[in-house]
């Protein structure tokens, strides 16, 4: 029995010591949510190209550029242009504008790139703020009607009065106006929509809705303005965004009537200018194109230097956080797979495959990624049949299947580029070896147990992927495991118990329940 004495002792220590350590750290305040969640940075490039129609033509491009403020921090700005001369110009109350000017003979590319770090703004508004009685002169700009913000129109005045007449305090009045605009149907359009048109059509995109909310506020004497910017997310896009600021209790407070942010501003809203302006203007009548190239980058800002943590790992240069995350979270995902295999009784292709699929799906998105995975496995798996029929040896057969996986990934990625489908392009990040082995296993299951069983195996693998995905996708787990690395010993302890657990699996219950029917 000494074998099991040592086993008991190991399990006991592996469970108790990590739990004690974690509890101690917890008590010491290691578990601070601010520390555990990584900070997100964006690398942004605002890119334009302009083509002169004739040689030696004088051209200009004007574009609003971001400035640091309470909400956002702009780091390492860099200007690029071959021939045009760049000159920044700060316009009071509007923003900073970059002006490129000069004469060129051929197409000119120019760009402004920077690093962005944003903070989510959440405003508290007092419940009993009165309506503004006297507005400072400096705000008169934000009180009257403009070309696209027709706050003096009867329809707008009537609606604003109707919505606010029984409201005694500012917050409730603004909420009534905001709620009205927010609940209007959203229409996807890139066209400029003015406030009145948005109201008459009963629907608009961001710019129409924002102008309408500003017009409604101004119509009842509340200073308001539009804010122009870009919603940051890893992408290449041409869409900018417009939202609203309303003067309440002596400060500007943000609202987004399209995406539903009341008195708050998400961290990834890049602010560029205030007021109703065009983000980019250029020499009229010449070919012009622009693009915002945005890449998200996660990073821990505050390092938890507490005792017995792994935060020091973050200082290794050249190790991307994504790789570190994969290593950190893999055992946890594998534990989940282990429990589902031995306690629930799910059968999966390989033990680690669901965890590895989940990890590789991060760049491509869950639903689409799982579909692509299943497709590649099935298609390459079917290759097995002619190869088997011709009596191709195991090693060459596997290499042929691996090459087929590579071919399908390359062609799907290429197709993605042709169709401008970003997710399809990201397929190239799939783990090739894992796919090959999965395809082979899929084919073997068809032969040994039939097509239905193979499909079931495939489905169960994807089901477990679905279960592992949220664990992997949560940024919280990185911070947790770096702070509480003793969790790995806890995992080993749990697996030692699982390894000698002799209970029946849930699937066995359904398969064998006829044995206890009577």
């Amino acid at each position: 029995m000494t074998t099991y004495k040592l086993y008991h002792l190991s399990v006991g220590l592996l469970l108790s010591i990590p739990l004690f350590m974690s509890a101690w750290k917890w008590n010491k305040g290691y578990m601070d949510a601010d520390i555990l969640v990584p900070d997100t940075k964006f690398n942004v490039e605002m890119f334009c190209s302009i083509v002169p129609l004739f040689e030696d033509t004088e051209l200009f491009v004007k574009m609003y550029l971001p400035q640091s403020n309470q909400h956002q921090e702009i780091l390492h700005p860099a200007v690029k242009a071959d021939h045009l001369v760049f000159k920044p110009m700060v316009k009071k109350d509007i923003g900073k504008r970059g002006i490129w000017r000069g004469s060129v003979d051929e197409a000119e590319n120019l760009s402004y790139s920077f690093q962005y770090r944003g903070k989510k703004m959440k405003y508290l508004i007092a419940e009993d703020l009165p309506f503004p009685q006297r507005v400072p002169d400096s705000l008169s700009l934000y009180m009257g009607a403009e070309e696209y913000i027709q706050s003096d129109q009867f329809l707008i005045k009537q609606l604003a009065t109707e919505l606010t007449q029984d409201k005694v305090d500012l917050k409730n009045a603004v909420f009534a106006l905001y709620a009205y605009v927010h609940s209007m149907p959203s229409i996807k359009t890139k066209d400029l929509t003015d406030a009145l048109t948005a109201l008459i059509n009963n629907g608009a995109s961001c710019n129409g809705k924002s102008r309408l909310l500003v017009a409604l506020c101004r119509a009842v004497g509340i200073p308001a303005r539009t804010v122009g910017g870009i919603i940051l997310e890893t992408s290449q896009k041409r869409t900018s965004h417009l939202w609203v600021e309303i003067w309440m209790g002596g400060q500007w407070i943000s609202f987004d009537p399209l995406n539903g942010h009341f008195a708050s501003l998400p961290a990834h809203y890049l602010q560029l200018y205030y007021g109703d302006h065009f983000l980019i203007t250029h020499t009229p009548g010449v070919p012009f194109d622009y693009n915002f190239i945005i890449k998200e980058e996660k990073q821990f800002l505050t390092q938890n230097s507490g005792l017995l943590t792994l935060w020091g790992l973050l200082s290794i240069k050249d190790v991307p956080l994504g790789l570190l995350k994969t290593i950190l979270i893999l055992p946890l995902c594998a534990l989940i797979v282990g429990i589902f295999r031995n306690v629930v009784g799910l059968k999966t292709i390989g033990i680690f495959l669901p965890a590895i699929i989940a990890i590789s799906l991060e760049s491509i998105g869950l639903g689409f990624g799982m579909m692509a995975f299943a497709l590649v496995i099935a298609v390459v798996g079917l290759l097995h049949f002619p190869l088997e029929k011709w009596g191709i040896l195991h090693t060459p057969k596997l290499i042929i299947m691996l090459t087929a996986v590579v071919i399908s990934l390359l062609s799907l990625s290429y197709l993605g580029i042709l169709l401008g489908h970003q997710m399809l392009t990201a397929i190239i990040f799939f783990p090739i070896i894992v796919l090959t082995i999965a395809a082979e296993k899929f084919a073997k299951t068809i032969i040994e147990e039939g097509f239905q069983e193979a499909l079931k195996l495939q489905a169960q693998t994807l089901l477990l992927t679905l279960i592992c995905y949220p664990v992997f996708a949560s940024d919280f787990m990185i911070g947790y495991l770096l702070t509480f690395p003793e969790t790995y010993f806890l995992i080993i302890g749990l697996l030692l118990i699982l390894g000698r657990w002799i209970g029946i699996r849930l699937t066995e219950y359904f398969r064998f329940k006829a044995l206890v029917q009577n």
């Binding site: 086993y7 031995n342 039939g450 657990w501 002799i502 209970g503 029946i504 219950y509």
Partner: protein, 306 residues
């Protein structure tokens, strides 16, 4: 929910699940280094022949491609042979060859087969087409002629008995019979029928196809339940003898009954499947707990085995 808990508690006491099979039967009773004695058919037969246990006569074992030609010449003296990969799985690579009426040319599955095709198949086996790429051996042996008893139930294929033994004691047995759906194969998951066996009386119990139980064969309608098994005592004795000479304490032995030679060992399995419990409508855990000489082998329904 309450009935689920009640039933699963009961099932936990009766059924041998895969976790318990591995933790309490396979790992402690079978040493992994002896698995090859069961997995490699040539090694299995070496042990069987050494102890004079009945099995199909080995005609030749081919280990090198260069010997295929001469080996094949020596096989022309036989009328019917079975060609098997020593490490094949799930019946892959097995070829049954018969001489035609004039006794000169070979037939496979009723159709003429050229010598070149047979040689290619033998070379495929050796190079590992049926054994996951690792080199293998060809086993050529006497081709079994099933006892007429089986043909009364279903007129084709090779049915076999599976006896599970623990410490040389038979625990559960079943007879596996093909159906029209199973294409000559007798495996349950390939559409075959499993028939439970009353080991004491040597009679067949109900047949099970993975979904339902039958008293008669669903294709031929011939009676199954209650049918007396020929050579049953000899079959059991052979199984027990075999388990005694193998250094594996938990195993599944596959036995066929030949028309002329009676019971012959076909294969030995170190990880016999669990569906035999459904076939017999009896949980193996319960059988082991109630068996006088096997008491105490399993822990008494404690879920974590410490």
């Amino acid at each position: 929910m309450r009935s689920f808990i009640k039933k699963s508690k009961k099932l936990q006491e009766v059924l041998l699940g895969i976790n318990q099979r591995n933790v309490e039967l396979i790992y402690p009773h079978n040493n992994i280094k002896n698995y090859k004695l069961a997995d490699d058919k040539v090694l299995t037969k070496t042990v069987l022949e050494k102890h004079g246990l009945a099995c199909a006569e080995t005609y030749i074992v081919i280990e090198e491609i260069s010997y295929i030609e001469s080996a094949w010449e020596s096989l022309t003296q036989y009328q019917k042979i079975a060609v098997k990969p020593a490490n094949g799985r799930g019946g892959g690579g097995i070829m049954i060859l018969k001489k035609d009426q004039n006794g000169k040319d070979w037939l496979s599955g009723g159709k003429a087969i050229a010598k070149a095709q047979v040689i290619k198949h033998l070379a495929d086996i050796i190079t590992g087409v049926y054994s996951l790429g690792s080199r293998d051996k060809v086993l050529v042996e006497y081709c079994i002629e099933p006892h007429p008893f089986f043909y009364e139930i279903f007129p084709s294929g090779v049915p076999d008995f599976r006896v599970i033994l623990l410490k040389n004691t038979p625990v559960l047995s079943m007879l596996r019979v093909p159906t029209e759906r199973s294409d000559g194969k007798a495996n349950l998951h390939q559409g075959g029928l499993g028939i439970g066996i009353d080991m004491e009386n040597g009679t067949l119990k109900m047949a099970y196809d993975g979904h339902r139980y039958y008293e008669n064969h669903p294709d031929t309608n011939s009676q199954i339940k209650g049918r007396l098994i020929p050579y049953w005592e000899e079959t059991m004795a052979l199984a027990i003898q075999t388990s005694k000479v193998f250094p594996l304490d938990y195993l599944g032995i596959d036995i066929v009954i030949d028309k002329k030679l009676g019971p012959l060992i076909m294969e030995i399995n170190v990880r016999p499947g669990l569906s035999i419990q459904l076939v017999n409508q009896e949980g193996m855990q319960k059988v082991l707990h109630e068996h006088p000489s096997l008491k105490g082998v399993l822990s008494s329904s404690m879920e974590v085995h410490f």
